[in-house]
């Protein structure tokens, strides 16, 4: 997915002279075409994420679009205050791009896992939070990100994530996409865990449970209509995200449901547990270990449907 991101950005930057890349010494093998094509719009700040973000903000304040880009937590947590005070408060046209959302960097360990980002980023005013699930969304999200006036957080995948959508998509920030329809329950996911959700929905369909599958690629602003409509039409909502249990996409969906009065439906959140991920292994293996495998999703849907909606 990072290749898709960089290729698409390069192509947009050919036409849009406002685009700058402000980096912190990360991007080997991916960012060179941009650096070679636009040496006057490419700046490596060295391993200095706070300066990267502040400098990007200054560049953006002068009428440009500044992209910051690095691994997982580096361009977010290290420089969170710069994102909050400088970028978001000034509504600066800075796009914060992380490579390796969730546990994409697998065996590299917790420093390289971005598993609290959705909660933290979505708490910041003015910031759009987007997590594409496959190449089609990733490509469309680059265009949406550049077209949007203001800060965006873009949670990119890392490798050759398989497709979730079968056909063309009408991608717009804040508008969830329906991957497949169903009336028995709704699975809402964000990001590349969507592929496991797709496999789970197919397996459930074979077992006679027709799930609606929704990609909530934009965690903020959230598509309240899609959530409430699915709640009313299917009576059960199961959220799935590669993120800590606290405050992520499932939390955002819960806020929407609670603000709507709860609706008396059956609900469940599937997340990582609230622990430090210390096991060593690939992303797929870690997903299995921490409860986000296909079988976990299938079981969660079945358990939810077997549960009582009322407390």
């Amino acid at each position: 997915m990072r290749k898709v991101f960089n290729t698409e950005l390069l192509s947009i930057a050919q036409r849009d002279k406002r685009i700058f890349m402000i980096l912190a010494d990360i991007g080997y093998g991916e960012i060179e075409p941009f650096a070679q094509a636009f040496p006057d719009r490419y700046f490596n700040c060295g391993v200095a994420e706070q300066a990267m973000t502040g400098i990007a903000c200054g560049v953006a304040m002068e009428g440009n679009i500044a992209i910051t880009y690095s691994i997982a937590n580096f361009p977010t947590l290290r420089c969170l205050e710069q994102i909050r005070n400088d970028v978001c408060y000034h509504n600066a046209n800075v796009k914060i791009v992380i490579i390796g959302g969730g546990m994409a960097y697998g065996p590299l360990g917790i420093s390289h896992h971005s598993t609290e980002d959705l909660a933290i980023m979505r708490a910041l005013p003015n910031l759009v939070v987007v997590a594409p699930c496959d190449f089609a969304e990733a490509q469309a999200a680059v265009h949406a990100m550049i077209a949007h006036e203001g800060p965006v957080y873009y949670r990119c995948g890392y490798k050759k994530e398989p497709p979730v959508h079968d056909g063309p998509i009408d991608f717009r920030f804040g508008k969830a996409l329906t991957v497949r329809d169903g009336r028995d329950a709704t699975i809402i996911f964000t990001g590349t865990i969507g592929y496991n959700c797709k496999l789970a929905a197919e397996q459930l369909a074979a077992d006679g449970v027709q799930c609606r599958l929704i990609s909530l690629h934009t965690v903020k602003p959230i598509d309240k209509d899609a959530i409430l409509r699915s709640a009313r039409e299917t009576g059960a909502i199961i959220t799935v995200e590669e993120h800590n249990a606290m405050g992520g996409m499932g939390g955002a969906v819960a806020e929407v449901l609670m603000d709507a009065g709860g609706l008396g439906i059956r609900t469940r959140r599937l997340t990582l547990p609230d622990v430090n991920v210390c096991k060593v292994g690939s992303q797929d293996w870690l997903r299995e270990q921490y409860g986000l495998g296909v079988r976990h999703i299938v079981q969660a849907v079945k358990d939810t449907l077997a549960s009582s909606p009322a407390m």
């Binding site: 200095a48 300066a51 400098i55």
Partner: protein, 277 residues
């Protein structure tokens, strides 16, 4: 580069005095802190806004304006004062500083006409100023970027990240001014983080450095009209100042960072500033 502009020491002194009086009155009315930090940089602001900065009070967003970022956002009242004196907004706004439904917040805010950027947490101003200098150079624009730092700002790692980057890219359209009063929030600099030899540190970081008396109008004006000190290098003006300058019992004290003057102290302080003329 814009043609150097000059003013008379008397004009600078009058403006600095007005800034100091406003700051004492604003913090007194708002019962807020940081007045020592405001008094410390009043002379620097007077010269900047009376002659150095190319700005237009009638058009605060004029694209060709020089950019000025106050990184020590806690001293924002002093910038509000000088902006009001220059006519960016009505002086009566100053009476609302720090108050309910006030127009002016305790830390400097870009919602106020003439304020380029909001700060309040230290270490934020310089990276943004560097980004603005980068954008100006890339676009071939002639305006300059000035950033005023405190001692505390120079403790922050992000400031040093930006220092290294600015030198690497030879941003000579960028000038840093340090309000070098050597007093920070919990003590004297020598007891917290000693920066000396400060000028040499910046020279080692490949900046062009000048060190002046930050209360001497001629020295301030002369230095600021010489930027860039060296072509191809960012300029660092180390302005030695006195925290609480102009109010005898506040000078060089940590306490002047906190609390506001009471009615009696306000009258006494304003009298001291008057007598100093």
């Amino acid at each position: 580069m814009p043609k150097p502009r000059t003013n008379t020491p008397v004009a600078y002194r009058d403006l600095a005095k007005a800034i100091r009086c406003h700051c004492l009155q604003m913090t007194h009315r708002g019962k807020s802190g940081h007045v020592g930090s405001m008094l410390s940089m009043a002379d620097l602001l007077a010269v900047l806004y009376a002659s150095v900065l190319k700005v237009d009070p009638a058009d605060p967003k004029w694209p060709e304006r020089d950019r000025f970022i106050l990184s020590k956002g806690h001293g924002g009242a002093a910038v509000y004062a000088v902006l009001a004196e220059r006519g960016f907004f009505p002086k009566d706004w100053l009476n609302t500083y720090y108050l309910d439904n006030g127009k002016l917040s305790g830390h400097i805010s870009h919602h106020v006409p003439g304020v380029e950027f909001s700060t309040g947490s230290l270490g934020h101003g310089l990276p943004v100023a560097v980004g603005m200098a980068l954008a100006a150079r890339q676009a071939g624009k002639k305006h300059r970027v000035f950033c005023l730092l405190s001692d505390g700002d120079c403790n922050e790692g992000s400031t040093w990240e930006a220092i290294a980057f600015a030198a690497q890219h030879h941003f000579d359209n960028l000038t840093v001014i340090v309000d070098y009063n050597r007093v920070q929030a919990l003590g004297k600099m020598e007891d917290v983080i000693e920066m000396e030899p400060f000028a040499r540190k910046l020279e080692d970081f490949r900046w062009a450095v000048q060190e002046i008396d930050g209360h001497d109008y001629v020295q301030i004006e002369t230095a600021l009209n010489q930027v860039p000190f060296v072509s191809g290098k960012p300029s660092w003006l180390l302005a030695r100042t006195i925290k609480g300058k102009g109010v005898s019992w506040m000078e060089n004290t940590v306490a002047s960072h906190y609390g506001a003057v009471n009615d009696e102290q306000l009258a006494k302080a304003l009298k001291e500033l008057e007598v100093a003329q």
